[in-house]
Structure formats: structure tokens, C-alpha cells
Subunit: 401 residues, 2 copies
């Protein structure tokens, strides 16, 4: 029996509203031992006021010591065990550029490469060709025609692109054609199981036609395919929680992840303030709102402590507009930590704040790493945040008599 | 390998005594944000003195965010994973009224209903007939005779009763006969698997004879059967822990739950003071004592904050009599929280105190929600409390060399 079996059987409907504000990469580190983190440095009067009537904890994205990517990070927050539900690389790449995968799709990551006259790879990334040079090539590759299969090709950054094959009977389990070394030709696509034989054949046809289209390109005269993946089979928020859920995000990746769990993507906001306006406009239509803010992560990735502090203060500034709506449950968290000290995602528990009338106030009056690690929610795996949200919203019945 | 595989293989015998005092529904909430909980409001000098030489923590009954019933709540405290061990509805109902289920029993919840002249249900609960009216009907239903099967019928509250079928070859998997709606006749009992075919036939015979007995009743002239369940197969305290265990409880439900895990029910105490006398009298005969106190839960369910405070102080008052016995390990906990603010069981971790000569004192000198959430035991799933008790009693050997 997993948590979704429980939430499925115990879910109750009511008029409550749950808001989950995700400041991507929220958790941080001090610049030197004993110093303050970005969140602790930031002036966050509104978050601190929430802390004074809420409960904090440290959300462990996957398991202690594991730094997640955006996929597992968000799956955890959404209540999907990130070790049980794995989004294949190709599917995540497609999701990240906003491609809406269907049930008959196989998504694949493509790389342009440079081939010598003998057909052997001389550069696996085509000299890290610029996006400006590579984008038109993706458009050219759309000329590939394969009977009975729809083929989509979308540019990604630099030497990367995405291929989506749409058709009946396309299993998702095909080995990479990138040999991971130079001096050898690309591998032929090989099915890992009988259900993926047709996919391998279609991929081979794509490569054959694609090579012809690319022939003559100075750098990107070849291609490899990696990370074959079907659309992940994730149960929806409606089914597992009984929630009508809306996602208010700016970047395609987060819209895509939210779509995979059955959230509606609402609004066309470009700024956090616009996102809150979208929240206000849609308040009556949904039970659950996921709001995604990217820049606490990107500034952390840049190693820009001061900029991350400033971005954290931007998050604080919109809190009054959210609390004015009187959500039953308000959660402020991140999908993982991105300490500017590390310039990368990290494994550290993410400061997480939950406010409701029936949360058990833990006595803290500030929101930060040090308070959250001693907070009333303790340290918990991110996947338990949704059950906590539902309970605090009165949306879960009693387990057993 | 589950925890019981480990405790089975590592258990050691000695002369230690473990006392687990369960104040049902112990955990609470403040009446307003920032206020004190029931336990924090109560004057508990003896519990505070224990805290000053013990270690606290927050016991999560099932998983974060899940509010348990009494069954899963106690299974967790007893060290049985409440997601792995599920007590069927009928079995819990029988247990709750003190019926001692045997290995060849199937327990069933019965409802009186009102049938129209066409045999269709007009009221699924027989007008919520009073217990005074319904109790004699259960006695009448004992006239049902089925060859080869012993039939027990016991009154419960209002429109409810319990049927226990005892005999060879009675599988427990039969679908409910309650159609969950009016305007249709009750369903026929249908076996969910071949092993339960005989049970379904016996149930059909019970219904046929029962209807005849009830015919002519003004309201309760029909019946439905629900929650067919065998006696749950729980390993015993003796087997998994090597403990001779005694339960000192007032209410049938808790005696029943204790009996299911192989505890002896001792004494006939009606008050907490009498329960402690039973503890004293049986001190030499057992290794483990489960003492159940109901009223911290019932006052919470009533939403009576002041009464729950008073009941908590009653628990505190008996502590000196327990410590006078010098238990090796003394645990004070609850099976779940019942905040009077919510008037119901809740998901909040339960303040839990463990005292032994080798517990690691955590520096707290009071016992309450805020101290326990920052206590030395951290926040832990209730099922780990028994292994902690055993270790503190020197009853678990080393795992691996």
C-alpha cells in the first residue's frame, strides 16, 4: 500500500484552497562556516510573520544525501515517490521545452555530432555548435518522413534537439546510439525488448534520412539519439487527491511537469507579480495552486549569493497578496536546495513552511535553514508534503477505524 | 527483512520491565495560533520530572499527514506496521465490543434496515433505531441455526450489530450486502474468491432466517451485512519480542487489540488508579505492561480543552506509583493526537517520552508538543517505539557481527 493508495481511499471534498509556492532551489548555504544562508540573509518580514503562525521543517527531496534534478525534485513535492516514478530523459527533455507528450509518443534526446569521411565520430557534440546555428537544422530534420509514424523535431540548446515519434506500437526501450567515445561510428538503435522493435526500426530510418539531410554541414553532419522514453504514466492529482489543480509557471519545464500530473496550466504570466494575478483570477476555479518561481535556483546556479538574496526577497514581497486570498493551507518550499556556494542543486533539506489553522505552531518566528531543521515538521521526505497539505485542508479522512 | 524479522532474531531475555502508558489521543493543538496545547497547559510535575531524565520525540502514527483510527494507532505503538497489518472492519467491530475472535471465525458488521413491502430498502439504518430497541433484536437473531457453523450475534450501538460465524473452511472475503442506496433490495452475499464460497452460503442462510425473525418489526425488519473479515493474523509479542505482555485497559476495544497481539488481559480495573493497582499486583508476572487511558481522547473528541487538560493531569498523578515500581523502561505516549480544536483524531505527531537508565537525555525539562518535536528521539514512525523499548531494556542483541 503506497501513499497514493491511502490518499485515494481517504480523500474528501470540501471548499478548501491549497497554495504551494515553490521557490526553486530555495535552500542554501552560508558563504563561510557559521555565516548566514541566502534565505537567512534576505529580509523576509512576510515569511517570518507566516512562520510565527505556521510550522516549519526540512524537506528531503529524495533521500538524505541525494541531489535531485528538477524532475524528481518536483515529483517529490507533488507527492510522487521520485524513486518509484521515473521520468525518462527524453520525456523530461521534451517536457522541458514545452512539448506536450501524448500516450503514443516516444521522446528522444538528439545530439548533433561531427562525423569523419569514414563515418566515425570526431566530435560527439559537433563542436558545441551555437543555438543559432543548430536551431535551423532541427527544422530541416522535420523533412524526415516515416510511413505510419508522425515525427516531431524540436531544437534545444546548442548541439541538442528533441525527437518525438508518435504512432501505434512504439515501445520506449531502445538503447542509445551515442557510443560515448570518438573514433567509432554511431551505434545502430537496438530494441531492449520486443515491444520496442518497431521504435528501433523507426529510429534507424530517422537516422538514415537525417544523416542525408545533415550531410555537408561543416560541424553538425551527424546525429546520435539517447534517452528513449515514453510519456511517464503518472496518476493525476484529480485521481489520487481529488483536487482540481492549477499550475502557474513561467518556464516550460515546470508547466510540463505539472501537466504530467494532471494540473491545468493557467495564465501566461511572465513575472511573479503576474503569476499572483493569475492566482487571483483563477481562485474560484481550482482547489490547489502550484506557483513556480525560477530565479532562486538560477541565481544559486550562477553562484550569485547577493542576487539569490534579492530574488528571495521578491518571493517574500508577494506573500501579502497570497494571504489576502485566505488560502486554507499555504506552503512555501523549494524542489531542492541550490546553494550559491555550490553553484548547483544540492541534497540539503529544503526550508519548508506550512501555514493552516490546524498546523501545530512550532514556536519559530523566522523562516530559514536553522529554524526549519528544528521545526515542528521535523525533516521529512518531500513526498509527504501533499498528505500533510491535504490533512491540514481537511481533505483526508481517518485511516482505519 | 521487516522489523519483526530483526527483533525475532535479536531478542534476549532478562529481568527487565517495560511499561507503556498510552494516554489515548494525547497530542493536541492550541486553541489559537501561538497558544499552549492541552498537554502544555496541564500541570504535569511528574511527567516534567521524567522529561528531565528521559528523552522525547514525536511519534508519527502511520505516515506524515495520516490520521489513524484506534486500530492502526495501536498496531503502530505495538510495533506492527499499520500499513502492512490491516484489521478488517468486522474484526475490529467484534474486537471493539470485546468479542474474542478465534482462528476459525469470520466477523461481520450487521446493520438493521427498513424494507418496504416489495423487499426494497427504504431506510439503510432502520431510522437510526435506539440501542434500547435494537439490543433485543440481536438476542432474537441468535435463533438462527446453520448446520456445522456456530453463529454468534452481539448488539452494538443503535442500528448496528455484529455476527461471528465460526466453522471450518470459512474464508473471509465476501462482498457487502448493503447496496449503499435505498429503493433497491439488499444484495446477495457474494464470495470474492473460492475459499469464501462457503461463507457466502452461510451468510445467505443467516440473512434468510434473520429476515423471517425480523419480519413484523416496525423499523428494523431487514438486515445487511458488511465488512466480512477473519481474525487478523498478527504474530504475538511472545514470538516477535520474547515478551510476556499484559494489557491493563478498561474499554473492550483496547483489550481486544492487545489480545490480537498475544497480550494477556489482566485485572478488572475501572479507573486509572485501579489500573495502576493491577499493574502492581501483576508486576512479577510479566515483562511488558500496556496501560490504556481513554479519557484524553474522549475529551478531545468532545472538543473540551479544559476537560482534556484535567484528564492529562490525572495521567500525571499516577506517575509516582509507576516509577515506584522502578520499571527498566517507562514510555508515556498516545496512539494518535486528538486536539480538542479539531474534535477528532489527527495526524500530528504524538508527544512521546521514554525513560531508562540508558536513554540519551535530550536536555528538555518539560513534556509537551514543542519539546517533543525537538526531542532526542526526533520524529519517528510509531512502529519503531517497540524496538527502542526493547533496546533500552537490554532485550535486543547486536545486528550483524
Amino acid at each position: 500500500m503506497d501513499m497514493h493508495d491511502i490518499t485515494r481511499s481517504l480523500q474528501q471534498k470540501n471548499d478548501s484552497k491549497i497554495v504551494m509556492l515553490v521557490a526553486d532551489g530555495l535552500g542554501g548555504l552560508p558563504q563561510q562556516p557559521g555565516g548566514l544562508t541566502e534565505l537567512e540573509t534576505a529580509k523576509t518580514p512576510h515569511l517570518d510573520a507566516l512562520a510565527a503562525r505556521g510550522v516549519q521543517g526540512g524537506s528531503i527531496p529524495v533521500k538524505p544525501g541525494i541531489s535531485p534534478g528538477s524532475g524528481p525534485g518536483h515529483l517529490g513535492l507533488f507527492g510522487y515517490d521520485p524513486l518509484q516514478y521515473v521520468i525518462g530523459r527524453g520525456a523530461l527533455e521534451a517536457t522541458g521545452i514545452g512539448f506536450e507528450l501524448g500516450p503514443n509518443d516516444v521522446a528522444i534526446r538528439g545530439n548533433y555530432c561531427t562525423l569523419g569521411p569514414d563515418g566515425k565520430i570526431t566530435d560527439r557534440r559537433a563542436g558545441r555548435i551555437s543555438s543559432e546555428e543548430s536551431a535551423p537544422l532541427a527544422v530541416k530534420l522535420r523533412d524526415v518522413k516515416i510511413p505510419g509514424v508522425e515525427v516531431f523535431v524540436e531544437p534545444v540548446k546548442e548541439h541538442r534537439f528533441v525527437v518525438v515519434l508518435r504512432g501505434q506500437g512504439l515501445g520506449g526501450d531502445v538503447h542509445d546510439t551515442d557510443p560515448q567515445m570518438t573514433g567509432v561510428p554511431p551505434l545502430q538503435p537496438k530494441a531492449a525488448n520486443p515491444a520496442s522493435e518497431k521504435t528501433a526500426q523507426v529510429a534507424a530510418a530517422f537516422i538514415e534520412q537525417g544523416q542525408k539531410i545533415l550531410a555537408g554541414q561543416p560541424k553538425a553532419n551527424g546525429l546520435t539519439l539517447r534517452g528513449f522514453a515514453p510519456r511517464p504514466a503518472l496518476p493525476t492529482y484529480g485521481e489520487v487527491y481529488g483536487l482540481r489543480a492549477a499550475a502557474i509557471a513561467v518556464y516550460p519545464m515546470y508547466k510540463g511537469l505539472a501537466r504530467l500530473v494532471g494540473m491545468d496550466i493557467v495564465g501566461k504570466a511572465q513575472t511573479l507579480d503576474e503569476q499572483i494575478s493569475v492566482l487571483e483570477e483563477n481562485w474560484s476555479k481550482y482547489d490547489f495552486f502550484f506557483i513556480h518561481f525560477k530565479y532562486t535556483d538560477s541565481t544559486g546556479e550562477d553562484g550569485n549569493f547577493a542576487a539569490k538574496v534579492k530574488r528571495t526577497e521578491e518571493v517574500d514581497a508577494v506573500i501579502p497578496r497570497i494571504t489576502a486570498l485566505k488560502p486554507t493551507v499555504l506552503i512555501v518550499t523549494g524542489d531542492h536546495s541550490t546553494p550559491s556556494f555550490l553553484k548547483s542543486h544540492s541534497w540539503h533539506p529544503v526550508p519548508t513552511l506550512l501555514v493552516s489553522d490546524c498546523c501545530r505552531f512550532d514556536g519559530h518566528t523566522e523562516f530559514g535553514e536553522r529554524t526549519s531543521m528544528r521545526g515542528g515538521l521535523g525533516q521529512f521526505e518531500a513526498k509527504y508534503l501533499m498528505p500533510l497539505a491535504l490533512s491540514n485542508a481537511g481533505r483526508l479522512g481517518k485511516y482505519g477505524a
